[in-house]
Assembly symmetry: C2
Homo-oligomer: 356 residues x 2
């Protein structure tokens, strides 16, 4: 079994802590470890040897990744360009196929939070072990609120129950809903949050790519032929640049006739999608007034504030409510924490004004 950790993203949700050359997955925003290292540590006991864990990263993050993983024998695949999840998974599949033939593998994002590691590992094992040829497994999460920031999986009939875990046929993948739809999903109980964690064998997913994304498939075979040769880097760069940027969900999963199974998970999951969600995750650091103060500072009469500092400055706060303060050596963000989803608007505006 292989595990592929996808770390190619370069989001702006955690600006100004995250930057293009230092995105969220490389930040130590939850613990003293970066999210990608947390993800690696969480799953490494599932594989026989560390080399069976593959990190797919972007070229610009090669140095920081090698620094974080210098003590591990993890395999690193470098994408010369960002081309979304279909290309990323295809590239990983080709490498695994070359090494191990029609092996099962699990792909997962590098930047998620998992509360219950034991339950998480247990469901991953079932997802990998229950795989048949021409089958795709995906992990869904029982919703606990009418979340409009996540995609959903609509469940069909129950297929099996393995080790406390129920498997369903997937009826369809649903894009981020509006509040009315999200509330009805919660009420109906037949929808799960789409985590972006999938399991398949190499032949299965490559066949799907062949069917639905033939250009990608052709490019991948060129790359496959160059693996292990000195031409690899040049071929990869040349071929990768031309790939269409498309997600595995949109490019394949929403179209395929192949059987997709959802495993119903309940292990405390978050995609850590905003400063506010991070604030709510770090609840064991909260004081009795709901404040999280990750800084050298002094707080007076504040309620529900989150201070995140990576400068060495003294941070003092007085009489604030529901406020986010992100203090970086070169940039300060002070925001209503309930509007932290709009941080990307600030980044857009700064780019427009050429201040970034």
């Amino acid at each position: 079994m292989y595990i592929v950790i996808m770390a190619g993203g370069s989001g702006t949700r955690f600006w100004p802590a995250s930057k293009e050359d230092y995105p969220k997955q490389f930040l130590n925003i939850i613990s003293d470890k970066s999210l990608i290292e947390e993800t690696f540590c969480r799953v490494k006991s599932l594989v026989k040897k560390e080399e069976n864990i593959i990190l797919v990263i972007n070229q610009i993050h090669k140095e920081i990744t090698e620094k974080i993983f210098k003590k591990h024998n993890v395999k690193i695949i470098v994408e010369p360009f960002s081309r979304n999840t279909a290309a990323c998974i295809g590239l990983a599949a080709m490498h695994i196929k070359k090494e191990a033939g029609n092996a099962p593998f699990i792909v997962m994002p590098a930047d998620h939070f998992i509360a219950n590691h034991k339950a998480f590992k247990s469901i991953l094992q079932v997802a990998a072990n229950s795989l048949k040829d021409n089958q795709i497994n995906t992990i869904g999460i029982v919703p606990t609120r009418p979340e409009t920031a996540y995609g959903y999986i609509e469940l069909g009939k129950k297929i099996a129950r393995i080790k406390d875990i129920t498997l369903y046929k997937v009826k369809k993948f649903v894009e981020k809903p509006d509040m009315k739809k999200a509330a009805s999903f919660l009420y109906q109980g037949n929808h799960l949050w789409n985590t972006g964690i999938f399991a398949f064998k190499t032949n299965t997913i490559l066949k799907e790519i062949h069917t639905f994304l033939p250009d990608l498939y052709n490019g991948l075979t060129k790359i496959e032929n160059s693996i292990g040769t000195e031409k690899y880097d040049a071929v990869l760069k040349n071929v990768y640049e031309k790939f269409e940027s498309v997600s595995i969900d949109y490019g394949i999963l929403e179209k395929t006739k192949t059987s997709i199974c959802a495993l119903k998970g309940d292990f405390g999951w978050s995609d850590v999608g905003s400063w506010q969600s991070l604030y709510l995750l770090r609840l064991n650091e909260m004081d009795s007034s709901g404040n999280i103060l990750d800084c050298n500072g002094l707080n007076m009469e504040c309620k529900n504030i989150f201070v995140f500092s990576r400068s060495n400055r003294l941070i003092t706060t007085l009489g604030l409510k529901d406020t986010l303060i992100v203090d970086m050596p070169d940039t300060l963000l002070v925001a209503d924490i309930n509007k932290s989803q709009d941080v990307r608007k600030i980044v857009e505006e700064l780019k427009k004004k050429e201040k970034l």
Copy 2:
């Protein structure tokens, strides 16, 4: 005529912009000039030569003062210790007496804001020119709100009217009132705000000091005898250390039987006593949402916020209301602007925790 600008204070109201070795009067918080330079420029046309303006400063601010006034022939008197306004005024009076005998002089704080310079200079001229021996003039301001942060002057009967300015006998000086009293002062109309601006001749004030603060008087005569000799610094240091720390208001004005006149002023005055009062003073920098952004930054969806930055950082704000942000190279303050009076509590707490 002489003008004495008292700049010995070391307040914490504008922390973290002001520090003990860099208090408010040396900050450029209203314009690109420091408050002490603003005060000097405002009054210099009232005296025949720049040397007739005397700055009384503390030893620790000598360097910064000399830097600010390097192009001016202002006279600088250095206090080796802070001993409040009675000692400060007595020391200045002795120096003036030595140079010009029984000359009139005006004393004023270095860190106030004046909107209407013409009206201000006009009232100062009347205050100095109308002085008789054994008379003290003071400038009071017509209250525009029930302010509890100021001392008041209770007016007696009208004495005279000179050039549009009415002079009253002072009935008594009133310490900072509670809200009920402040509201009644506003309602009755016979109280003025005490600005701490006074005019007297040297003999008058030294006689008062002789009567009510005899120890101070004895010390001052020792200093007087040493002025112009090489012993001056040593005598000053030795004598000054032993002076009681007492204000001119409490030590003399509240006790004297000498005639005190209040000149009724109305020229847009503020003691710039808090970040909030500074925010309200700088109204011509306010945008249509009530924000003042004195920084390199980007603001989105905020209302009534005041950003004051003296670092070179990028400051971004999102969805805030009534918020004060003071961004200094080594310290950040984020506060409810309505609680900016409590900044001193933060300073006290930081000192207690040895973080300052």
